[in-house]
Symmetry: C2
């Protein structure tokens, strides 16, 4: 039952953002919105919240200056509000980044929905709770969305946007557009999925890593090096699907799946693979073909090679591979 | 029962490398060894192998020139041998990159061990077979090791080195040292593990991605973007463990595990997590502390931020986050 009160302003016209919760993630959002030229009002119940928050923003600022600040962006445009109500009273958008506890999120989001002006979109930074579970206590659940960032939110572009069962699809569209205007890279999901997308991928890798450490199969050092010296170099600019398509040579993802498909049955991780049926094979092959667009295999190899070289150079590792 | 014939030369004195199999991976190895100034003899039974190989090396060469060639490195130092025996007869080291079929690897490695000079170390590029299973047919199994690269081997530094039950530990040490001299970044494993380390991590992520596509939960485009716009930007220079330690704020991995530990029980991926007991918690915390070394939390945050900025800039994405 979506509510229909429209947002009080267009995503392009947002001036004041309220950030609720000012820990690592909430504080990172504050830094991001300040750097993009917004007025930011923050609220956090911790006694030392203001000190910690201003320290975090100051520490992030040199990085943000390098990226390039928006016109008029300033750390002085941050206000700490004494109450939650005052923090959100004049906000055009609210980003909630409270600790990851369902009951807390539930009551906090209800309180926020009651304290904001009608129609203001409220996004939760939750790492994995479905909005459907978090919006149950709110009187105006239609404008509650998930806007899940990555740490640090002022540097990592990704934000995943998804609504709950009682979220107005307009609020999802509004939030996606707002994040885009605010300089984020948006994935809008059409359904709820525990952990969304990136966290599911990251969590699968992470749990396999924990298993290996728990079993003495690898050390923390091995795990980190295996990524930064290996696939991590490609994933900074080419995702796992297109990367694997290139492993198939000129035959692309189709050849890769035919060649390495049987290894999906191998115990290469503790996660069992899905059945590689015709539909999945086609979805992967078609998706990679679409991602490649007009680029030939040779174009993609050249782009990947240049990307790896650029990343190696940027992270100070060229020269180390010289004999 | 390790054999005791020592390698005919020290890892530092290798002049001629034989590459057996010249597909995407084998050809990538050829390019790497040529660029590092070795004489390379290749063999591949395919009719068009020489054409394909020379094309691959020529395509890779501009990238290798950018990285910086070793003194005397030249594409002219590549010879295609008409037979496997001639390819390896004078080799100081052999890299086998045949198709991923166990029986084929088994007989090929036996043939190679018989055709090389005594003591020459032979490494397999296998993506996941344990050497114990591959060395069963060889008369001199002591010098057979796994040397598992990432695609493309001429750019991605990582190589994972591990022996089988019948491998001489001296051969593992020799191979690790040789790869190091040849400009690779080496992880030497003390036990066999299906998929080694990086592939297990990568495969867990990949299988979760396949499940999501199979269930219509995410598209190929979403999956690739969720990595390149998200965690992939950090993983190019900071591994998943240290990255997650920073998500714990000043409290590091200990705080992170206490805070997000319960989410290991959440269905954020189809892979079940191990029990987060005291031993695992300590191993993760200690490993991250060791990785951090003398660097404070603030140092690590600054390094991560600079790394992300450098990677964004290197991959042409700065400016896109400006409002």
């Amino acid at each position: 039952m979506p509510e229909t009160t429209p947002a009080p302003c267009a995503p392009e016209d947002v001036r004041r953002v309220a950030c609720i919760g000012a820990g690592v993630i909430g504080g990172g959002w504050v830094a991001h919105f300040l750097a993009r030229g917004y007025d930011v009002t923050a609220w956090d119940p911790a006694a030392d919240a203001e000190d910690r928050l201003r320290r975090l923003v100051a520490a992030a600022w040199p990085a943000l200056e390098q990226i390039g600040l928006a016109d008029g962006a300033s750390q002085d445009r941050l206000t700490l509000a004494p109450t939650l109500g005052e923090a959100v009273a004049e906000a055009d958008f609210v980003q909630e980044s409270a600790p990851e506890k369902l009951e807390l999120k539930r009551s906090l989001l209800a309180e926020l929905a009651a304290a904001t002006r009608p129609g203001v979109v409220i996004a939760s930074s939750t790492s994995g709770y479905p909005m459907t579970d978090m919006q149950t206590a709110a009187e105006h659940p239609g404008r509650l969305v998930v806007g899940h960032p990555f740490n640090p939110p002022y540097l990592i572009p990704l934000v995943e946007v998804v609504g709950g069962e009682r979220t107005d699809p307009e609020a999802v569209a509004w939030a996606s557009r707002f994040y885009d205007v605010a300089g984020k890279s948006v994935i809008t999901m059409d359904r709820e999925l525990p952990g969304f997308i990136a966290n599911r991928l990251q969590e699968a890798l992470w749990r396999e890593a924990l298993h290996m450490v728990a079993n003495g199969e690898a050390t923390v050092e091995d795990i980190d090096a295996s990524i930064t010296e290996g696939p991590g170099l490609r994933w900074a600019f080419m995702g796992p699907c297109l990367t694997f398509a290139l492993a198939g040579g000129e035959g692309g993802m189709a050849h890769m799946l035919d060649h390495f498909g049987p290894s999906l049955k191998s115990p290469w991780t503790r996660l069992e693979a899905p059945e590689l049926d015709r539909a999945l094979r086609d979805a992967m092959v078609d998706g990679c073909r679409e991602a490649a667009g007009d680029r030939t295999y040779a174009d993609l190899v050249a782009a990947r090679d240049q990307g790896v070289i650029d990343v190696l150079r940027a992270t100070g590792r060229l020269g180390s591979t010289r004999r």
